[in-house]
Point group: D2
Chain length 136, copies 4
Amino acid sequence: MNRNNHLFELELSVRDYELDLQGIVNNSIYQNYLEHARHEYLYSRDIDFAGLHEEGKDLMISRLEIDYKYPLKSHDQFKVTLNVRREGHLKIVFDQTIRRIPDEKLIVKAQVFGVCLEQGKLVKPEKILDLEQLGL
Amino acid sequence: MNRNNHLFELELSVRDYELDLQGIVNNSIYQNYLEHARHEYLYSRDIDFAGLHEEGKDLMISRLEIDYKYPLKSHDQFKVTLNVRREGHLKIVFDQTIRRIPDEKLIVKAQVFGVCLEQGKLVKPEKILDLEQLGL
Amino acid sequence: MNRNNHLFELELSVRDYELDLQGIVNNSIYQNYLEHARHEYLYSRDIDFAGLHEEGKDLMISRLEIDYKYPLKSHDQFKVTLNVRREGHLKIVFDQTIRRIPDEKLIVKAQVFGVCLEQGKLVKPEKILDLEQLGL
Amino acid sequence: MNRNNHLFELELSVRDYELDLQGIVNNSIYQNYLEHARHEYLYSRDIDFAGLHEEGKDLMISRLEIDYKYPLKSHDQFKVTLNVRREGHLKIVFDQTIRRIPDEKLIVKAQVFGVCLEQGKLVKPEKILDLEQLGL
């Protein structure tokens, strides 16, 4: 954990093609930001999402809860943060936020529930992932 | 309400550019489908999302809960359904599903919480929308 | 060929999430429309882009020329048309247009140059495709 | 000009949601990369695309030529380069490349033809832009 109490963070900035006709980042785009931070986190822990898929091992999202607190606009910079925990035998939960830089204004708060599949079948996460490596 | 107990439905089909490296529709794309069905619903009731924005009236999503039940693949056809209800004084809730055609397999189930803004300020929905027109 | 002198056409309508801050369809989205029409055309001829990929056979774009004549807006309906021809030994060229419905206004005109790969190597189209099936 | 003979460059990396079922960056996404680099370039010269739009001044693309030389994959890093020149009285042309980092492999080469609109009408670029500021 770093001093801000999260395992991982990624700094990004808004690209104009992500804005919609309201002049703000479209709701679905925040999900892209959240996903990208999760994949970068995994990669920083030597877990390669694309590589796993080629071995028939897939990480899938089973549920997403997302609170939109404040919109991002053109040229905004922001950071995506991430913590990870287990829930039950099958789920890995990512607690994520998006905060504007530099004022730390909360933009999005999300809980993302992941499950693991091997050859298309639901398996316990430890079957396809080294959980210690993942910070669990 | 139609015989399937929802106010509105929209038939669409998967486009290959919506698939990700897992060969299935990317998680964020379902949010596009859900949004498109909401806007089409509004339009069918003579409420124009883009037109409202030009008058300084904005419909915004404050929260989204989405359960991913089964993925869509290349060439899948599906329908997005929608019901609408109020919650408290400020929120309009859209209950939505995505079901594959023709087998009705449940793909996604979502609750989408919307709020209304006028000149950037939160207002009661009846301030900017004719709720009867909206089916409320 | 139909009476309009093209092999294939596909009717679509603009979705609000495809609009950018200028309130018009973002330039990159037209490329999605063009691609979707090509894949639907192939599929109508029993050529499955996703299925070919699984066999190690890939259709790739080597060059795109696109003229933007007039922008599409919220709720616009349009059709994407397609003709196909060969150029040299290796290339298949798709001549495509996007026209607004119902006034036939020309929105986009494009030439899309495709090549064929087998196990990552450039091959003649007839190596992986039945050209007669494709209308060539 | 820098030592590499271009006015501006921007370093980015591939995000997994940009990959398609072929496991490579989808063709339309490169157009997003190119656009983002142009807007960042303009912004570095104190020209704000979103701000101009609010004043009724719009920069639009009238034509795009793009050669796809080699695909980007998961985790690839790359840089987008940009030069700018005039063509005739009305057009500004951006010559752009995308090169993989660190091996400088050429991924995409593009020519992007832009025009300027004021209140929806085509005008000479110098009517809405300070061309010296733009490097012209």
